[in-house]
Structure formats: C-alpha cells, structure tokens
Amino acid sequence: MKLLIVEDQPKTGHYLRQGLAEAGFNTELVADGNTGQQLALSGEYALLILDVMLPGRDGWQILQAVRNAGLDTPVLFLTARDAVEDRVHGLELGADDYLVKPFAFSELLARVRSLLRRGSASPQETSLQLADLRLDLIRRRVERNGQRIDLTAKEFALLEMLLRRQGEVLPKSLIASQVWDMNFDSDTNVIEVAIRRLRLKIDDEFPNKLIHTVRGMGYVLEERPA
C-alpha cells in the first residue's frame, strides 16, 4: 500500500514522509504539481496527500484530473488557508478530507488511517478483543478476564473506538468527533476525564494496563510487555 505526498515545502514534506514511514506506510514524496499529477494518475496509490498551493499545478487541479480520469483514490488536502470557499471548493471537487495547517501529526495519521479503512469494508464483527478484554457488540457487554464490567453508553462507544483502532494513537479531537460528534476545536479537558473514568473501570484492577497516554498526542489501546 503506497501513499503519495505532494508538498512543495521541503521541511513539511520530509517530516510527513518520515512520520508516515515510521507508522508503517510506504510513501513517495514529490514537490511539484505536474509530477504529482503524473504519479497520481498512474493509479498505484492507495491515498493522495495534496498541498493546495503547489508550483506548476495546484492541488485542486490534480484532484480534478484524478477524478476526471475516473479514479476514486481517497484524497486528503493540506491547506494553510481556512477559507470557507476553499472548503466548499475542495468538497465539490471530491476531496475526502482536509486538514488546516498548523495540524498535529497524530491528527493526520488518524485521518489517513480512517481514509484507508473506508475503502475496505470490515466484515460484520460481533465482538472485539484485546488480551483479556472482550467487547460483545451484540449484547453490548464488556468483560475483562471473565469479569463483567458496567459501562455507560458513551464509555462503551469510546472503548469500541479504541478497540477497533487498537495500536493507533488517537488524538483527543478525533475521539471527541467520533464518540460525541463534537467537530470543533475545543480546549476542554473532557476527553482526559472520560479516559480517566474508563481506565478506572477497565484497567485499575488489572496488572497489565491496556489504555496508554501518548503524551502530547493522544491515547492508544494496546498490550504492552510488562
């Protein structure tokens, strides 16, 4: 699975590539619009990450060419301008998502994973599991080590998200958007509190902790060697 990054700012491009590579993605980076479009049209890529302002050919034009060629490769836009027209324009042209600079890398990574997952319909799961934690989606029950745990509806949704995306660092903004449908910048610490309360029920009584805080980036659910 290959990702194409078209970004003309060398520093940004370099760090995007490094970050995505370390997250396990095979990426290619080009700095100008014309080459970017050529590569994008080859259809080899699973996802395009396009900057709007590019030399030669801007991100919108590349997107348009890709869609005109009948390709439905997911496209994530990076833009420095948060103008309403930009947003509307991008969505009209068929962009799948966009991020306004400055953005956090964890946010980008989470969105990339969401977009890549969108294409492949996951089989109908009836339960999710990590180590001795089990979540029954049909009966809406949670057990750990055979012990039943009572969760509120939102706690259940939060844990379901963490389990579905286990191993991924989930930024607070993504959690707020996915679990509570709150799609705005907020400096509230609601998510911290909610995670802490979930931990209290899931992790506190057990020696191997599953919910981890990645400082400055978000939360991850994974089994770590003790």
């Binding site: 400055p102 709150m182 799609n183 705005f184 400096d187 509230t188 509190v193 309360r197 400082r215």
Partner: protein, 449 residues
C-alpha cells in the same frame, strides 16, 4: 481629457448666465428704442401729412409749388413726391432719389446710397378713390446711427459683464468651496498615526455638514477598529512571547551538554505542549479574524436546541461528575443555524461555567422560545462576577482569574470572544449577568421566517 475644476466650471456657468441675461436685456432695449423711433417718425410724418393735406386741399395743377416749397423748407430732412392718379409725377422735391419708391400704403423703409429713409404713402384726399398719391420721405440716418452705437454698446456690455462675472464667480466659487478644501486638507493628513483628526462640524455650511459628519463618523470607526487591531496585535505578541521564550530556553539548555535520552524526550514533550498551545492559539485567532472579516458564514440547518444542549451536556457529563456539579436543561426551541458553530459556542459557555462552579454546585441550560426570538441561558452557581468586569468578559485574551497565568493553561482566553463572534454571525446577541450566588450568560437568537 482633464475635467474642469469645480471653481472654473462655476465661474464659466456664472459668465454664461450673465451673458445670456444681458444679451436678452440688450435685445429688448434695442427693440424698444427702434419701436420708439418708428412711433416718433410716424407722428412726425402724420403731422406733416395733415399740414400738406390742408395746404394742398385745392391742388388741381402744379401752380401751388411755391406753397409746397414753403411748406417743405421748414423741414430740411423731409422730401415729398406727388403722383397723380394717372401715374404722372406732379411734384418732386428731391429728384436725386430713385424713381422707384415703395408703393405700399402706410410706413415703410428705404435705403438709398447709405442714407436711410422712412417712407409714408398716403392719398392726398382720403375720401376720393382717384386722389393723387403723396409720398413723404424722412431722412432717419441719425436714428440708425444711434441704434447702431447702442448695439455696439450692448455687445460690449455683454462681453465685459460676462468677463467680470467669470472673474468674480471664480473668486466666489473659490471662497464658497473653502470648506471642501478644509475637508481635503484633513483627509490628506489622516494616516495610521493620526486617526484622531476631525472636521469642525459646527462651522460647516448645511450642505456639507452631513458629509462632514459622515466623514468624522468614518474616521471614528477607522480609529476604533485600528485601536482594537493594534491592541489585538500587541496581545498576540504578548501571548506568544511566553511559550516562545519557554521553547527557546528549554531547547538551548537541553543542548548545552550531553544528556541521557530521557531528558531529550522530556524536553521534546515539553516543547510539544508549548507548540500545541501555540497552534491552538493561532487557530483560534484565525477563527476570530475570519469572524472580523465577516467570513464566518453560518449554515442554516433546522435545529432542535434541546437535542443539541442534551448532547453537549452528555459530552460534559464526565467533567461535571468529576467536579460533582449537577447539569440540567429545560425548555426547547426550533431554530435555523449552524450546528457545529452553535455547539462550539455553547460548549465554550459550558466549559467556562464548569471551570468556575464549586463542588456541589450546578450548571443549568434554559431555552426559552419567545415570539421574537429564542433565548438560551447558561447559568452556574458560584461566586458572582463584579459588575465592572462584566463588559470585559468578551474581550480577547481576557481572563477572569488573573492567577491563571498565560501559557501555562490550555485556556487562552479566546473562548468567550469566539462564542460572541459565532452568536453575532447568527445575528444574535450575548450578554452576561451576575449576582452574588450565580453567573448567567444569555444568548438571544433571532427567529428567521
């Protein structure tokens, strides 16, 4: 082509008006004098005709020539010709005149060799059809000279008065337009440094007073916006200075000597926190800048406010339970608005309320559906805010609690300003009320039909 100046245009218009008026008066006067001369000539000729008829009442032949000569000698500029009914010329006092004279009865005019004559044709005996014809000729050259002189005079007057009014008009226009030049002088002196210049509105002429007033009002608005912009820029610089200096110091200190890897990790984490705070600040400021430029365009989705409030209360529930604060909501209203913006506005209010509510306190949302509009109030228990601080709450970077020092908290002091911008973009108002035991933010949103 360059447009004429206002003063020259006025001066030329004045001159044209004067020229037209004096020309009209001159033409009228010259017509009147000509008519007057004709009347005088008519009277003179009529009286002569009367005298001649009396003198010649028994004229049968040419023997009364002596009488005629005698009669005519008293009037040097008068000539006489008598023609019999058979067409023969009986008498001619001035044979040098042309043979052919105007035959029309009554007065007519004749020009012969540079001399003007008034001609009167009349029968000698008014009651006899075959009476001999009298033709009287009056030399009117001096009248014509007078009329010509007068016409020259009129043209001269027209020309001179037009010139004089043009000059006087130019002067009058210049002095009449002096207030405009004053406005222009003030306007040319306005710059970012001197937005406090104002036009004196009292001694402006009424036509310009309104313009001067609007001009001053414009300067006032500019001044106000500029002041706020300057203050905002200063605030931004101030807000960014603390995290920037933390970043600089921490990074430099970390790099001064080799350290264990854990220290580097710690330094990067600390930097990350500062950077995230700064990114949040920049995003919030961009949002406010967009609102200031009227670029915040709310969508118009039908919303059930109770539903939205309940979702938000559910979102804040963990925080409230932790702080042992009771959350409640009553009332409902339907409204057209932007879901995500209004959620953001309300969430800022709720977040703010929870911050200042003591343990065992409450935060309540009440929605009132009124005929004129919808009001949403968020009230929390706790120590009230003193009245003089209420208007400042919505100022950017204002923090009710000065102990919360800048940079350290995730809260930059822009939340209420953003809420206000969102409510205003929806055409609504927000205010804060406070008493000893509670604080309440009231949002009023208009209803769209």
């Amino acid at each position: 082509m360059r447009r004429l100046s206002l003063s020259s245009r006025l001066a030329l218009l004045f001159a044209a008006c004067t020229a037209v008026v004096s020309l009209f008066a001159g033409v009228l006067f010259s017509r009147a004098s000509e008519a007057h001369f004709i009347e005088l000539d008519q009277q003179l000729l009529d009286s002569k005709l009367l005298g001649l008829r009396r003198a010649l009442h028994d004229l049968q032949s040419s023997d009364s020539q002596v009488k005629l000569a005698d009669e005519l000698s008293r009037q040097a500029d008068l000539s006489l010709r008598i023609t019999g009914s058979d067409g023969r010329r009986w008498y001619d006092s001035s044979p040098q005149l042309p043979d052919k004279l105007p035959q029309t009865p009554g007065l007519s005019k004749l020009n012969d060799d540079g001399t003007d004559y008034r001609v009167l044709n009349a029968p000698l005996f008014a009651d006899k059809p075959d009476s001999p014809q009298l033709t009287l000729l009056l030399d009117i050259t001096h009248h014509q000279h007078f009329l010509q002189r007068m016409q020259h005079l009129i043209w001269l007057t027209v020309g001179l008065s037009a010139l004089a009014t043009a000059l006087l008009g130019a002067w009058a226009a210049r002095s009449g337009l002096r207030p405009l030049r004053r406005i222009s002088a003030v306007a040319s002196g306005v710059s970012a440094q001197s937005l406090n210049a104002r036009l004196p509105e009292e001694n402006m002429p009424p036509e310009l007073a309104e313009m001067a007033h609007n001009f001053n009002a414009m300067l006032g608005r500019l001044d106000d916006s500029f002041q706020r912009l300057s203050a905002f820029s200063a605030d931004i610089a101030h807000e960014l200075r603390t995290p920037l200096s933390n970043l600089l110091t921490h990074t430099q200190v970390t790099l001064t000597r080799p350290r264990p890897i854990e220290d580097y990790r710690e330094a990067l984490h600390s930097n990350l926190e500062e950077l995230q705070w700064m990114a949040q600040l920049v995003n919030d400021m961009l949002y406010l800048a967009k609102a200031d430029h009227g670029l915040l365009m709310p969508k118009c989705e039908p919303l059930q406010l109770a539903e939205e409030a309940d979702l938000l209360l559910e979102f804040f529930a963990p925080l409230a339970e932790d702080a042992q604060v009771k959350l409640s909501r009553d009332g409902n209203a339907r409204i057209e608005g932007d879901r995500s913006m209004l959620r953001r506005a309300l969430s800022n209010l709720l977040d703010n309320a929870l911050r200042f509510t003591p343990v065992e306190g409450y935060v309540s949302v009440s929605i009132l559906d009124q005929p004129k509009g919808v009001s949403v109030s968020v009230q929390n228990s706790g120590k009230g805010i003193s009245a003089e601080l209420l208007p400042r709450l919505f100022d950017r970077f204002y923090r009710a609690d000065p102990a919360r020092q800048e940079g350290s908290s995730e809260h930059a002091g822009l939340g209420l300003a953003i809420t206000q911008s969102i409510i205003r973009a929806h055409g609504g108002q927000i205010r804060c009320e406070s008493a000893e035991e509670w604080t309440r933010f009231v949002i009023e949103l208009p209803k769209k039909d």
